[in-house]
């Protein structure tokens, strides 16, 4: 089973001009299917925060429904369904509001975790990292070469053609992280190659597994990370695999039994105690 947490924080340059956070995230766990989504509304578009909010909600709900359907066996089709649904929904919202879809422009990353598969779909410059026992890899990073690294949005006509779809066997993958581009300077070791910065992902994975992990604490971390070099909105959603037998039943002083998750406490404590701004 997977444990998930995540949050967003408004970017420092957005604060200066009084703009709200255009990033959004959502996740769901139902039966054996966990779905995670992040989206970054285009800063140049007036209604993009509504675009990103609607995108993640729809993405998670459509992905979850597709993957849980009896006999569902074509994961690439689930991902395509997510992008075409979000594209249509944003188009419908735009026409209802007498706007153009471009006003709601947003990037979108969706991850579907099933018993057997890790399915990743991305449109735009989102960052998805998969972890295997402390080794991390960025999945299908957004290309950077001249003329191709324009950020693409799910609202574009060619959104489905632009989507980067990756299907991986779930075996061995024990953590998955989603982010918008606002954190790129802080969580990548190298911007050009999108190689992950390992200590960050080690610390986040350990934290997510710890029993006290909260979305509020993730939000506070993002808000306190002011020197992010991008000035952009920041979002982090992290999922870590925990086995049912990792759950210990701990007797509390009051005689109550609570579920606790066994973790690498040293790593969790290290993550939790690293002072702000320290490398």
């Amino acid at each position: 089973m997977w444990k998930v947490t995540g949050a967003s924080a408004v970017g420092t340059t957005h604060e200066v001009i009084g703009r709200a956070c255009d990033d959004a995230s959502a996740w769901s766990t139902e039966a054996d299917v966990t779905c995670l989504a992040v989206a970054d509304g285009a800063g140049s578009r007036p209604l993009s925060s509504r675009g990103s909010a609607l995108a993640v909600e729809r993405a998670v709900s459509v992905a979850s429904a597709c993957a849980r359907e009896p006999g569902a066996s074509d994961p690439a089709a689930w991902l395509r369904m997510v992008f075409s649904d979000v594209h249509e929904q944003l188009g419908a919202l735009a026409s209802e509001q007498n706007q153009v879809p471009d006003d709601y422009a947003t990037t979108l990353a969706i991850v579907i975790l099933t018993r057997d598969l890790v399915c990743i779909g991305q449109v735009g410059d989102t960052i998805v990292v998969a972890g295997r026992e402390g080794a991390y890899e960025t999945v299908a990073p957004s290309p950077r070469a001249e003329y191709v690294n324009e950020t693409f949005f799910v609202t574009e006509e060619r959104a489905l053609d632009l989507a980067r779809l990756t299907i991986l066997p779930a075996a061995g993958i024990d953590s998955v992280f989603l982010s918008t581009d606002g954190l790129r300077y802080k969580i990548l070791d190298d911007l050009a190659t999108a190689v992950p910065f390992v200590p960050f992902f080690d610390d986040v994975a350990a934290y997510v597994r710890s029993p006290d992990a909260t979305a509020d604490a993730v939000q506070r971390f993002l808000a306190r990370l002011r020197d992010d070099q991008s000035g952009d909105d920041k979002t982090l959603v992290a999922a870590a695999r925990i086995r049912p037998d990792d759950i210990q039943h701990t007797r509390q002083p009051g005689g109550q039994t609570t579920e606790r998750v066994a973790t690498d406490q040293t790593a969790a404590e290290r993550a939790a105690t690293a002072p702000a701004g320290r490398a």
Partner: protein, 233 residues
């Protein structure tokens, strides 16, 4: 419970904003004008060092055109920029200076890309108190500059100094920005504005890893330049 603060990468280099200053050092600049220019540039060096972001994000080159067009100061980070006393003399080979600047800017951008650095749209400033004496070279160079601007590869600022500055020639350098005239010899005000402007640019997130990416970032985050108090009405 202690606050969650995972280790983050503190070593990724900041995005860069390349700024080429093309300064007229022809004979007519001799005396008070070149003195004021030198004082203004010295002030600029001090002020850019005081801007937390611009000192590491802005990279400045100074190209003069007088006897010849030459690179007086190669691209240097704001924090390492040192004043240099420029001397006036000779004609106004502005076309040669523009060609030199375009070459320097292209090389700089290439270096950014190779180093994996993101960048802002580079700035090209042309300050003159006269008109190009290399007319043919200037016509071709001006065309190249307009093309670079149209390709969103550079922002061009033309500035005329004194009554003899040919504003029509400066106009040929940009289809997007009208050249301005310096109010008297207010070089100090101009350079102070330039350091503030580089500070404002550095504080914006109008940068990317390619010219297309930069243009897209600019659409989301326009750089608010301070008012040009140095310009003549």
């Amino acid at each position: 419970m202690p606050e969650f603060f995972p280790r983050v990468n503190q070593d990724n280099p900041d995005p860069r904003i390349a700024c080429a200053l093309l300064l007229d050092t022809s004979g007519s600049m001799n005396g008070e004008p070149i003195d004021q220019l030198n004082q203004g540039f010295k002030l600029f060096c001090d002020e850019i060092r005081d801007d937390e972001l611009a000192k590491k994000r802005a990279e400045i080159t100074v190209i003069t055109f007088g006897d010849t067009a030459k690179v007086e100061i190669p691209f240097t980070e704001g924090r390492d920029l040192e004043p240099k006393t420029l001397r006036a003399g000779g004609a106004t080979p502005m076309g040669a200076a523009l060609n030199l600047a375009l070459g320097q800017l292209a090389e700089q951008k290439q270096a950014y890309k190779e180093a994996g650095l993101e960048y802002y749209r580079p700035w090209l400033f042309v300050l003159t108190d006269g008109e190009p004496t290399d007319r043919e070279a200037f016509a071709a160079a001006a065309e190249r500059v307009r093309q670079a601007e149209a390709n969103r590869g550079v922002s061009v600022f033309g500035i005329g100094i004194g009554k003899a500055a040919n504003m029509d020639r400066l106009k040929e350098l940009s289809a997007q920005r009208t050249p301005l005239k310096l109010d008297g010899l207010s070089f100090r005000e101009f350079f102070s504005w330039l350091s503030a402007s580089l500070g404002a640019a550095s504080a914006s997130n109008a940068f990317g890893s390619s010219d297309t990416g930069v243009a897209q970032a600019e659409a989301a985050d326009q750089i608010p330049l301070p008012p040009a108090g140095w310009a003549a009405a």
